[in-house]
């Protein structure tokens, strides 16, 4: 009898999207499905609320929606594990699996799946919060613990519906997040409009071989002016321990970082993926050109480019010859 599952050829990134009812999860997922440039599987609770342009729909059987852009959206109403098992068993692997936790669910429990499923690697837990309701929900004796559990599971917090609060409301919401999840990066959005590149940060598919594209798609997403894109290019390789230290110290305004780099103590190139506070390094099947190329997205903050470059440079080992543009905001 077969004793073990065959080892997966590639590990599919898993992103878990959490947040209380009404925080904007479905809006975010609708945006992701419509704008995706990779083969995504998106598992959602409220299938009826998924709303993509009719022209994008290839096939719809009531439980699964197949889009012309390669994405598949599945209803979790059939049972969470059965649905996920079906997705994992698809013959053509996905570029990325996104699971929506229910409005009262614990996204951390779902993220744990990637710790034991060899075919998955956890990209990050993104938890949304409704800026207007957040302080009230956090103080609600019936709901506060559920909300806190969700927020504490986050690698990146999205403070959504920013337009519904004034400066005092914004400060109150940020204080609530800081109290529940100190040090976790917070990105503020309107209508859950994360930058279009948040999920598709360059390259055709997130974990396909890095294609070296440094030109990020500029999409007409409202409120994107709140974000800036970063580019970091260097020759040389990183000291692994120093790099880990640098990544742990990244400014809270940094939402996303991705790229390929060399490590001084390992052969070959490595892919760095970072969402909020969570990062991972995985070997790439290509020789090391002794250069690092990273792209990032951050909340608008004039100091972040130099700060990021300073932290990374400190972990870079000679030859340390900066070339081309140092850091730049696209």
């Amino acid at each position: 009898m077969r004793r073990r599952l065959p080892a997966p050829a590639t590990r599919c990134p898993l992103t878990v999207v959490g947040g209380f009812l009404g925080a904007g999860k479905t809006t975010l997922l609708n945006r992701l499905l419509a704008g995706s440039h990779g083969r995504y599987a998106v598992l959602v609770n409220d299938f009826g609320a998924i709303n993509v342009d009719a022209g994008l729909i290839q096939d719809h059987d009531g439980q699964t929606l197949r889009l012309t852009n390669g994405c598949v959206c599945c209803s979790l109403a059939d049972g969470f594990l059965d649905t996920l098992m079906r997705v994992l068993a698809e013959p053509e692997p996905f570029d990325h699996i996104v699971i929506e936790a229910s409005g009262v669910g614990d996204p951390g429990a779902i993220a744990e799946i990637a710790l034991v499923e060899p075919g998955l690697v956890l990209r990050g837990v993104v938890v949304l919060a409704d800026a207007e309701r957040l302080p009230g929900l956090a103080a609600d004796p019936r709901l506060g613990d559920t909300l806190a559990r969700q927020i504490r599971a986050a690698d990146l917090l999205v403070l959504n519906k920013r337009d519904l609060v004034d400066e005092a409301g914004r400060a109150a919401a940020r204080a609530t997040l800081a109290a529940l999840a100190p040090g976790i990066p917070v990105v503020e959005t309107v209508a859950a409009a994360l930058p279009a590149a948040f999920f598709d940060l360059g390259g055709a598919g997130p974990d396909r071989a890095w294609r070296g594209s440094t030109r990020l798609r500029a999409e007409a997403v409202p409120h994107e002016e709140a974000f800036q894109r970063l580019l970091y290019r260097r020759t040389g390789a990183f000291d692994r321990v120093a790099l880990e230290r640098a990544l742990t110290a990244m400014p809270a305004a940094l939402l996303r970082l991705k790229g390929r780099l060399g490590l001084a103590d390992r052969p070959g190139m490595h892919l760095l993926q970072m969402v909020g506070r969570r990062w991972s390094l995985s070997p790439l099947p290509e020789p090391a050109p002794d250069a690092a190329e990273l792209v990032g997205i951050a909340a608008t903050d004039p100091g972040i480019g130099p700060a990021l470059a300073g932290l990374l440079d400190a972990a870079l080992r000679p030859p340390h010859i900066p070339h081309g543009d140092r850091t730049r905001c696209a």
Binding site: D46, D82, V104, E112, L115, V116, T146
Partner: protein
């Protein structure tokens, strides 16, 4: 040609009809009761006398208002629980009181399965009744090292597996999640809990042994297991009711099945607007033996699993509050939609905070759209406070309490979850009866064994498995308890016009007992043997245990 009339005679007939509580004869015609009375009242009736129950006691067929068809599915597998059960074929399956006995029963099952790779699946394991003894992979390796072996706990939330299945799932000393606990030597113990561990288990097996389409044999086993306990109407109180399931039910619920089945649509399977439409379609497919129309909503988890939502002061042992399975504001919306559409709801609430949310939701729905006689029913509702019960009464809700908990988890509630004071009012049937709340009591089978007389015994005695009495003030009288498992439960299913009592015009559904439950000591209520059942006038015998 006029239909034939059968005249059943019994030593005593307890009718549950308050205007004619006692009788000795029942005339049955075309599956329904023609009339109930005494010998003298039937003089001259042209009927076939059926005297086979002449020395028996007849009650209305019992109504189990909260069970699951999984009771029928699980009997495909090997029962390893601590309490005695009867399998659907009538065998008495003794409870197992130590790990060695569990291993022996699984080994016996192992020898009977021809395919060496087929999963061996045990169910009903409950360490609480084995003095807390843990089952490890080493125990299950004594069953087999070459066949996957798994054992589900009675809670259905924890699974134990053998070393082979651990390996198939990819768990080893490097696995680092809470749901895969380790032995002192650093290797996994074989206990698995939580969705991450379960996903790997099912991936390792290649399928999910807990799901899959219902088949006619499952329904037949469900019906047979119920019949053995004197049940003639039973709810399957949480079902996705896919087209395939509805087709299986339709084919299975015909002449020959000894029970009427009442499946409840699981609210979680679809948005409420879709649910209203589905109930409309399903209700049109209802028959005398299969009745659709009710919807189940699950608000929180379980008390013994520490997932029930509690009001302060919370869990006695300081465990954090449990989980909402539906947020209160969503509950308001879902209840509102179904209520406005005239659909009856069965709302699972274990903890009193969940009960409060359900009460609030029904109150809002009643204010928005007043509806007489809605009969929404709180299911389990184990920790309702006295103030909440007064709201239950005021809002016109019914209760179906989980009285079997008193015996199976009463000691855990006393020592761990609720503490002595609150454990004394768990499943407060006495208070419900004093307040005049329409009341049923249930088993939640397969969580605890089917058996309305056992459930009634629990409500009457309130004795835990260790012999402690929890809250004697909340005891029911035998008469109240028998009402709760017949007409009371029928009322909560909106079937009191056709089942639950023996009176002219209602279905001829009876439970035939060897002894009079009013004559035996109340401590022996659970031991009164079921002799037979009658469904629509047709007799179904019960083999001796």
């Amino acid at each position: 040609m006029p239909s034939e009339i059968t005249l059943f005679e019994a030593r005593r007939i307890i009718t549950m009809n308050p205007s004619r509580p006692d009788a000795t004869h029942i005339a049955v015609c075309d599956g329904r009761v023609l009339t109930v009375g005494t010998q003298a009242e039937f003089d001259g009736l042209d009927a076939v006398a059926d005297r086979r129950f002449a020395d028996k006691v007849i009650l209305p067929g019992f109504v189990e208002g909260h069970a699951h068809v999984m009771e029928g599915t699980l009997w495909r597998q090997t029962y390893v629980g601590a309490g005695d059960r009867r399998s659907p074929d009538g065998r008495r399956v003794p409870g197992l009181r130590d790990i060695g006995a569990v291993v022996d029963r699984l080994s016996e099952a192992d020898r009977s399965i021809a395919d060496p790779d087929q999963l061996l699946y045990g169910w009903g394991f409950d360490p609480l009744h084995l003095g807390g003894a843990r089952l490890t992979r080493h125990d299950l390796d004594r069953v087999s090292t070459t066949r996957p072996v798994m054992v589900h706990h009675a809670s259905l939330h924890i699974t134990n597996v053998n070393s082979l299945l651990l390996e198939m799932a990819g768990f080893d000393e490097n696995t680092a999640i809470d749901g895969v606990p380790k032995l002192p030597d650093g290797t996994p113990s074989g206990e698995l809990q939580g969705i991450a561990a379960r996903l790997r288990l099912f991936r390792g097996l290649g399928y999910n042994p807990m799901s899959g389409t219902l088949d006619a044999a499952d329904v037949a086993r469900f019906g047979a297991a119920a019949q053995l306990q004197g049940i003639t109407t039973i709810a399957d109180l949480h079902n996705d009711l896919t087209d395939a399931t509805v087709a299986v039910y339709g084919a299975a619920c015909v002449e020959g099945l000894p029970v009427r089945i009442v499946p409840a649509l699981a609210s979680v399977s679809c948005p409420p607007e879709d649910g209203v439409a589905r109930i409309g379609r399903l209700a049109a497919a209802s028959t005398d033996r299969l009745r659709f129309g009710i919807v189940k909503i699950v608000v929180d988890g379980s008390i013994q699993g520490f997932t029930a939502r509690l009001l302060p002061p919370g869990y006695h042992n300081g465990a954090p509050n449990g989980l909402w399975y539906v947020a209160p504001e969503d509950l308001d919306r879902i209840v509102g939609v179904y209520h406005a559409a005239g659909i009856q709801l069965h709302i699972h609430t274990n903890g009193n905070e969940a009960t409060e949310a359900a009460l609030d939701a029904v109150e809002k729905a009643q204010i928005a759209r007043p509806r007489p006689d809605h009969r929404h029913t709180l299911q389990h509702c184990q920790m309702a406070t006295e103030a909440q019960l007064r709201r239950v009464k005021a809002l016109g809700l019914c209760l179906n309490l989980f009285s079997n908990h008193l015996y199976y988890w009463g000691d855990a509630h006393h020592d761990l979850t609720m503490g002595p004071e609150r454990a004394a009012r768990i499943d407060a049937a006495g208070s419900a009866a004093r307040l005049g709340i329409p009341l049923a009591i249930h088993s939640d089978a397969p969580v605890t064994p089917l058996g309305p007389l056992f459930t009634a015994w629990c409500a009457v005695n309130r004795t835990t498995s260790s012999g402690r009495v929890l809250g004697p003030e909340e005891r029911l009288s035998v008469a109240q308890a028998l009402h709760a498992v017949t007409l009371g439960a029928a009322y909560t299913l909106r079937m009191d016009h056709c089942v639950g009592s023996i009176e002219a015009g209602k279905f001829a559904d009876f439970a035939v007992l060897d002894a009079d439950p009013y004559e035996v000591p109340s401590e022996a209520l659970k031991d009164v043997p079921i002799h037979a059942t009658v469904l629509g006038g047709r007799v179904f015998t019960v083999p001796p245990a």
